[in-house]
């Protein structure tokens, strides 16, 4: 896409030779961090930042500063630069475009040489790219919108321990989204009561149940109790249905030692899946991914905390970048939005997240917020999880927006069913299967969705009741994290 921009055609003003290293303060653009003629190498990491400079700060200088502060620069010239091949290590801002319809905001493209990064370490990558620069005074706000990760770098990560295809093979479930539910209430259930919810939901028809992000080991329920009762429920439901079932046992804890202990116990009890929260940190996530790989375990990641830095449109890190990091870090599941549920999620932006998690090659799609072609080079695919305020009556919309390779988590939409949890689970499963059947038959399931559900409800009372209870519930609020580019109709000549 071309964004013609008459304002930003600044040539490089790099000061070279002896003058470059004279003591004192030099503009970043003069230190070699602005190279408008630079052609990114296929091995470069490229970051796209949305920068909002302070009033009076030139956008090119701001972009150069971001490049500098996220790579080699410090605020003043240092002679020790000259002991290094510093031109290689300098990040290079090479393009600055104004953001459409957003005065004062600019997209800055910055290329980083691969030599800047430790192989296979999200911690190292993020310490560079988002380490210091977000507090930089000359900027009002800064957001990391997208990254292009070169294949050479992608290949230094193991990627998901299991991935979508192998997960489906292990579970023997193909051709439809998986169904899950988060056990509610989030807090206060004893282990024994908690397992009851798991059993009812799985026996009723769900594939998975899930601990919530803040279910760890609190006074009302010790983690070992939870694991034991949950596995009783899983095994009992499996025997009752003849179908593979699972429950995400959250092993999040205060230390790695505790997490390993909990994961080992889950493994010993025969669980097929464990869960961690994003708040444990990138290194802990990579460690747990390695552990999961060694123990044939599916690794579920709850994106707890991400909203603090992904939601605001001008400052923070886009969730599409988090999605890329987490695919590298090696989780098998990640919560990625529902579009129609209670949590933030513009349809096109969410589509971009899903594509990043599931495709082997992402093509640039500005309207989905994808700024770069990204080759995943065979890295396994991450199963996105849609959770939060969704119910059976939205099944056609969920299938339309999210596709087939997704876990649909109906927490309230299962447990809140008037006839009980098993009835709620059955309602969801019947709705899902009826919708898949109709889609495969070539019906316009999005338009005919309500009719398809009503027809299916004729042989399933619990679905009838679910539709009567929640049929009209929707969460229609404007999204904050929306794409900056909209496809425009081409004039026909």
């Amino acid at each position: 896409m071309d964004t013609p921009n008459p304002n930003i055609t600044d040539e490089a003003q790099t000061v070279r030779g002896k003058a470059r290293y004279k003591s004192g303060v030099l503009e970043y653009r003069k230190m070699g961090y602005w190279e408008p003629d630079y052609e990114p190498k296929t091995t470069d990491v490229i970051a796209l930042f949305r920068i909002t400079p302070q009033d009076g700060v030139d956008p090119v200088e701001a972009a150069a500063a971001v490049a500098g502060e996220s790579s080699t620069a410090t605020w003043t010239v240092v002679w020790t630069d000259r002991l290094t091949a510093c031109e290689k290590y300098r990040a290079k801002a090479y393009r600055v475009d104004p953001v459409p319809n957003a005065p004062g905001q600019y997209f800055a493209y910055i290329a980083y040489d691969l030599a800047l990064f430790e192989p296979g370490s999200i911690a190292n990558l993020t310490a560079s790219i988002i380490g210091n620069v977000f507090g930089f005074k000359p900027l009002k706000a800064l957001r990391l919108e997208d990254m292009r990760l070169p294949v050479a770098y992608v290949k230094t990560f193991d990627g998901p321990a299991t991935g979508i295809v192998v997960e489906r093979e292990r579970l023997d479930k193909f051709g439809r989204p998986l169904l899950g539910a988060t056990v509610k209430p989030k807090l206060g259930l004893s282990g024994r009561n908690y397992g009851r919810v798991v059993y009812e939901a799985l026996k009723g028809g769900l594939d998975f149940t899930k601990d919530d992000e803040n279910i760890n080991s609190q006074p009302f329920m010790h983690w070992r109790d939870r694991f034991l009762y949950c596995m009783e429920a899983v095994n009992k439901a499996q025997a009752a249905t003849g179908e593979v079932k699972g429950t995400y046992l959250n092993v999040t804890a205060g230390t790695m030692e505790d997490m390993y202990e909990r994961a080992a116990f889950a493994h010993e009890l025969g669980s097929s899946i464990i869960m961690i929260d994003l708040v444990i940190g990138y290194t802990a996530i990579q460690s747990m991914s390695k552990w999961a790989r060694r123990h044939d375990m599916i690794l579920h990641l709850h994106r707890a905390g991400h909203g603090t830095y992904t939601r605001h449109k001008t400052h923070g890190v886009s969730f599409r970048v988090i999605s890329k990091w987490m695919r590298l870090a090696g989780v098998d599941h990640i919560h990625a939005g529902t579009v129609v549920g209670k949590l933030e999620g513009d349809p096109l932006t969410t589509r971009g997240f899903y594509d990043i998690l599931r495709e082997d090659y992402n093509e640039t799609r500005y309207e989905h917020g994808i700024f770069f072609d990204q080759d995943w080079a065979g890295t396994r695919k991450v199963m996105p999880v849609a959770s939060g305020g969704i119910h059976a009556g939205q099944m056609h919309q969920l299938l339309h927006h999210l596709g087939e390779d997704v876990v649909l988590q109906f927490g309230g939409g299962t447990i809140g069913h008037p006839q009980g949890i098993a009835a709620g689970a059955m309602a969801n499963r019947v709705a899902l299967e009826a919708m898949i059947l109709a889609r495969n038959e070539g019906r316009d399931y999005l338009a005919e969705g309500p009719q398809i559900l009503n027809d299916a409800a004729r042989h399933c009372l619990p679905l009838r009741q679910a539709l009567d209870t929640w049929g009209e519930v929707s969460f229609n609020y404007a999204s904050t994290d929306t794409p900056d580019f909209v496809p425009t109709a081409m004039p026909a000549y």
Binding site: V165, Q238, A239, G270, N440, A456
Partner: protein, 142 residues
């Protein structure tokens, strides 16, 4: 009990016309349809017996429906499932799988618990029918 493996087990058993439409969906995607049968429905019993090879290069569902009819005739008291393979790079696995025949009577599974150290239990799931030899588990044929 009703075995709920596969994509459509919560719906009333599919009619031949419905099965045929699902097959055509698979064929239009370029997937190879496969028929398998078993009389051991354990959830981890991955390898059901194959009814011939996956059917490559077929264009019309009717060709597969005739194979299904034949499979049903020979194995009239087994589970039969229909699945479809997608050979696309980075998938190279099944895209759909659903049961197209089930025995008239499904006795289900026994769950046994063996007490182990601490409060740990060792579970074993076993289909009641597997006490009989293979081929004689459901009804008199199979």
């Amino acid at each position: 009990m009703r075995l709920t493996q596969g994509c459509f087990s919560f719906l009333p058993d599919l009619t031949d016309e419905q099965i045929s439409r699902q097959i055509q969906y698979c064929l239009d995607k370029g997937w190879a349809v496969n028929l398998e049968y078993t009389d051991d429905p354990h959830p981890r019993n991955t390898y059901w017996e194959m009814w011939g090879l996956p059917m490559f290069d077929i264009r019309d569902a009717k060709a597969i429906m005739s194979e299904l009819a034949e499979c049903r005739r020979i194995h009239d008291d087994c589970y039969i499932r229909l699945s479809a393979f997608d050979a696309t790079h980075t998938w190279e696995s099944l895209r759909i799988s659903f049961i197209v025949q089930r025995p008239r009577d499904e006795p289900g599974f026994m769950l046994t618990r063996a007490e182990a150290a601490g409060r740990t239990l060792r579970y074993e799931t076993r289909a009641y029918v597997v006490q009989k030899p293979e081929g004689a588990r459901y009804g008199n044929s199979g």
